[in-house]
């Protein structure tokens, strides 16, 4: 699908979920195939997110001399964090999906640390976290498609990159032996790219084990000794780009 096929008006309707199912699916498919469409959609989403968060907390009418800012909630900053990461992703050519608005991982401090470090980041190198929080089979497939596209794009461009796939909550199922239908594919991605690492959230595994009453078997290549929150916080502070699935 050619980028010029879709007007920005149409893409606005897409991000606002105002299209019928067929048109929606068509654009969604095009986004996976065409980086330029992906970038345009990301730009529009970034604008929408930023406007949304800019007014989540406004000065109190009874105390307009500064309480508004001083009292800005951590939640708001998480939101801004997600928005700004979205904008960064957009500018660097990556897709950040709808879940950015509801991310609970990136804190405000993480993001502003990110910005501080972003200015010093070696622009020739990209470090990306792909955060998978769902066990939905189509979402997982989309995540793997995205991972392969990222790797191929940077490989073609001759740009070094590091990709960490961090799974959380039901997302850990994509790395479970006997559960995930994508184990071979994931193994292939890791075997063919020495810059890819796999992580399954330790806390999510513990919770799932308690819930299911049995030991979970994760694929050998998955690192399981840290929580997703720890992993992501560490990376954001070092200037990694965050993409949530």
């Amino acid at each position: 699908m050619n980028d010029k096929t879709y007007t920005d008006e149409k893409l606005n309707l897409f991000i606002d979920q105002q299209l019928d199912t067929d048109e929606n699916d068509e654009i969604r498919h095009s986004i996976l195939e065409d980086a330029s469409i992906r970038e345009r959609v990301c730009q529009l989403k970034a604008v929408r997110e930023l406007v949304g968060y800019a007014y989540e907390n406004v000065p109190d009418p009874d105390n307009a001399s500064g309480a508004g800012n001083a009292g800005i909630s951590r939640y708001l900053w998480k939101g801004i964090a997600a928005s700004l990461l979205l904008a960064i992703g957009m500018l660097t050519g990556w897709t950040v999906n709808d879940a950015a608005r509801s991310t609970q991982i990136a804190s405000a401090d993480d993001v502003f640390q990110y910005y501080k470090s972003a200015a010093q980041v070696n622009r020739a190198e990209r470090k990306i976290i792909l955060h998978v929080t769902t066990g939905d089979i189509y979402a997982v497939k989309g995540a793997l498609d995205e991972a392969e596209q990222l790797l191929a794009s940077y490989r073609d461009a001759g740009t070094p990159m590091k990709l960490d796939i961090v799974t959380y909550r039901e997302g850990i199922n994509m790395m479970r032996v006997g559960v995930s239908p994508y184990l071979d594919r994931i193994e292939g991605i890791v075997d063919n790219n020495d810059n890819v690492s796999l992580y399954a959230c330790m806390r999510s595994i513990d919770k799932a084990q308690k819930k299911e009453g049995k030991q979970l078997v994760m694929m050998e290549k998955a690192v399981t000794d840290k929580t997703a929150q720890e992993l992501i916080s560490e990376r954001l502070q070092k200037g990694w780009i965050y993409i949530k699935v």
Partner: protein, 182 residues
């Protein structure tokens, strides 16, 4: 018995209004960028809503009904003022004490400043969509314009904001490139 039922209904409706007050205030603020005025507009909206409660036929449309009253109040204010934009100095947000807070306020300030530069008709639609979360049909109802006009205003607003905001994350220059809040 009827009186008691009416009393319960009135109390419930009052609570429904109160639950929505904060968001109404934020939306009003996104239009006028002035705390006192936003508060006045919401207060006026609450009063009118209570007076006109009988005209609310369908409880499911409470939100659009309230925001329509708010928008009408805002337009009434603009008419009285006789001007459409740039109503006041927005110097009421104060300065946070810490550098990090300052950086954060700069980002929010930049976005608000960009929204504030939009023509009023675009500003109203984009904040109703992107902040208040109304659908196109609901916005058409609130603003009393065709859905096609909602689409075109939203498109123009986002294009405008995109141009203003795209350098937010560009080349890692964000903290120094941000413009101050008016």
């Amino acid at each position: 018995m009827t009186k008691i039922k009416n009393l319960f209904a009135a109390t419930r409706l009052k609570q429904e209004f109160a639950d929505r007050r904060t968001k109404l205030y934020r939306v009003a603020y996104s239009w006028c960028h002035n705390t006192s005025l936003a508060d006045d507009l919401v207060q006026e909206t609450m009063l009118k809503a209570m007076k006109k409660a009988d005209s609310l036929r369908n409880q499911a449309t409470l939100d659009t009904w309230l925001y329509r009253i708010l928008l009408n109040n805002w337009h009434d204010y603009l008419r009285v003022q006789g001007r459409n934009v740039e109503l006041y100095d927005v110097g009421d947000e104060g300065q946070p004490e810490h550098a990090d807070n300052y950086q954060k306020s700069q980002i929010v300030g930049r976005v608000r400043s960009s929204v504030e530069r939009l023509p009023m008709s675009l500003r109203e639609v984009v904040t109703l969509a992107d902040f208040a979360g109304f659908s196109y049909a609901e916005i058409a109802d609130i603003v009393d314009i065709p859905i096609g006009t909602v689409m075109s205003r939203l498109y123009r607003a986002r294009q405008n904001l995109k141009e203003q905001l795209l350098d937010l994350a560009g080349e890692g220059k964000l903290p120094v490139k941000l413009m101050r809040v008016k």
